[in-house]
């Protein structure tokens, strides 16, 4: 399940973290989030961070793709929309050949990288913003607010987002990158909210929060100054996974023609490859390139994520 929305059911303290560890937006039972981490000094983090092979590998790989997205359009000899002879094989002039109407595929790939990153970032940002806000409120306040939020998340989780998008897409015939990113954000936030709520719950009962409350701090200040920093590493991991998950979701949507109606993305390339018989014509580079690149982008994030978790949580370090 490469693009799923999972969330962490509430439970008691340590169990929540273990549960959260198993449930991430990328596939139920995917990698990544372990227990809430006590705030440590930054120096210790950096020390372990630069020595963690997984983190370094993941970051390096991701940097490669980011670099590709930035300088790719510059070094690419052609634009994505220029027309040449169609169905050309990869050659020195066209590094990935051309598609059915003659666009240079390499140019499409590097422009598509940008789009994929954009949607991924947008989706992750939206989902994080909404999810964290609601999660903090529900986790800190509890009571009926919490109940309502749980009900809402339960409901949203059960409506398959792809099918929803299909129905919306049937009627909304022009869509942009913004729409796709926001849609992903609006359908993925339940996972974030649940995870954040679970951790806030645990932290809320800790002594330092009681102290803050007794000293008369306002709830918003307590959340921002006391609770959030203790969850900082956790939140960071959440965002990383969200980013990867958004990219995968976008790929599926684009593949089915539900993505932005203009522009080119990695998913759209695969869609076009399928529609224009790349399989039958054995023009495999058309879909292999975007597929491999997208997989690489997400794998890099996942591996970096595991490394990051090890850095934050000493128990996971294998020495």
């Amino acid at each position: 399940m490469s693009d799923s929305l999972i969330d962490a059911p509430a439970g008691s303290g340590a169990e929540q973290s273990a549960v959260a560890a198993s449930l991430t937006p990328i596939g139920a039972g995917a990698a990544g989030l372990a227990s809430p981490h006590v705030v440590r000094r930054g120096g210790e983090f950096v020390h372990y961070a630069v020595r963690n092979p997984k983190l370094l590998f993941g970051l390096a790989l991701e940097a490669l793709f980011v670099l590709g997205a930035i300088i790719g359009p510059i070094i690419s000899p052609h634009n994505a929309t220029d027309l040449f002879r169609s169905y050309l094989h990869p050659s020195a002039q066209h590094w990935l050949g051309t598609n059915n109407i003659g666009n240079d595929l390499f140019a499409q790939l590097v422009y598509g990288l940008r789009d994929s990153y954009l949607v991924g970032a947008l989706g992750a940002l939206c989902a994080s913003a909404i999810g964290m806000a609601l999660g903090f409120i529900a986790g800190y306040r509890g009571g009926w607010l919490d109940e309502v939020l749980q009900m809402v998340t339960n409901i949203m989780v059960m409506i398959p987002s792809l099918v929803l998008l299909i129905v919306i897409g049937a009627y909304l015939t022009t869509r942009g990158v913004l729409f796709e990113g926001v849609f992903i954000g609006l359908t993925t936030w339940p996972w974030v909210a649940r995870a954040v709520r679970a951790q806030t719950f645990t932290l809320r009962s800790r002594d330092f929060v009681d102290l803050a409350r007794l000293s008369g701090k306002r709830p918003a200040a307590i959340v921002v100054r006391d609770i959030a920093p203790n969850m900082a590493s956790y939140l960071f991991l959440v965002v990383v996974l969200l980013f990867g998950s958004s990219m995968l979701l976008a790929a599926s949507y684009d593949f089915l023609g539900l993505g932005p109606t203009n522009g080119i993305s990695l998913g759209t390339m695969m869609n076009q490859a399928m529609l224009w018989s790349a399989l039958q014509l054995h023009t495999w580079w058309w879909f292999v390139a975007p597929g491999v690149v997208l997989t690489g982008m997400v794998v890099a994030l996942l591996i970096a994520n595991v490394g990051l978790d090890e850095v934050f949580n000493p128990k996971l370090r294998s020495q």
């Binding site: 490469s2 596939g27 372990a34 749980q150 299909i166 599926s252 399928m274």
Partner: protein, 330 residues
Amino acid sequence: MRRYFSRKLLTYVLTFFVGATVDWGIPHLMPGNPVQLYLSNFDLQPAGYASLYKTMSQAYGTNLPLWDQYLHFWDGLLHANLGVSIYDFPSEVTTLIWHALPYTLALLVPAITLSYMLGNRLGALAARRKLLDNTVLPVGYLFQATPYPWLALALPFLLGYVWHVFPISGAYSNTLLPALSLTFFWSLLDHWFLPFLTVFLVSLGGWAIGMRNLVIYELENDSSRYLRALGGTERLVRKYAYRNASLPQLSGLALALGVVIGGNIVAEIAFQYPGLGFLIYNAIEREDYFLLQGIFIFIIVGVLVANFVIDIIYLIVDPRTRLSMQGATA
């Protein structure tokens, strides 16, 4: 326990209500209406357009006020009447869905259950054997990071076009007619395998990794330490850890359904496998909005039923939910 169920029931009812309303709402609240959209495809003379519009509107009830339409919608829904397909007139939506359903189930059910069971086993094994861990983990991540479309293209290409091992489209060979014969059955299996593999592989990675993490956590927690301190065999410790780890995995299953359905749709479309996903695709192509909406409702009901089944299993498996003094929130 009663509180557990009543809470769940409320969620299901509300979900159904919300889902159905959204389903009805989107087309009706968007600019234009289904009939208008449909007719815009044809190059009609104004007079012809007007009369067709009138007739169709009456037939599909789109000339009634919004509120009336909504009530009619619910009326039909509660009578399991999802309307009539525009394109495949006069086939009823329910009939079309019924024909496509077995194919979707044939993909989904084995893919979910097998990936879940196998993934859990692999993850648990990886948790205790370093060697296995070093292979399972990266492979698991790789599969997890794989976009459904990629696998749905690479697999048929490799195994279908290049190596001609499996067919790449349809539910069965188009030289055969459905019959209770071995040849037909074999052809079904042949065509089923690749789409199944697509959905299966992507899920497998996720379950394995999740289980591995959970088992590692369980193997180090206090109850495992106690068992070991008291001379429990490592086997016993592992057995208990596995059991404890299975619980969060199970709740994860319920939550992953929405995604697997998405993946299933992608696979069906890529392989032209005549399940619900392919039906949706055709509905979009042919602008058969009633079919589309009917499928949406149906899928929601399906997800609710599956969630319910998993809730029951969870109840049986987790003593805390059964006997808990506070209501479960899973």
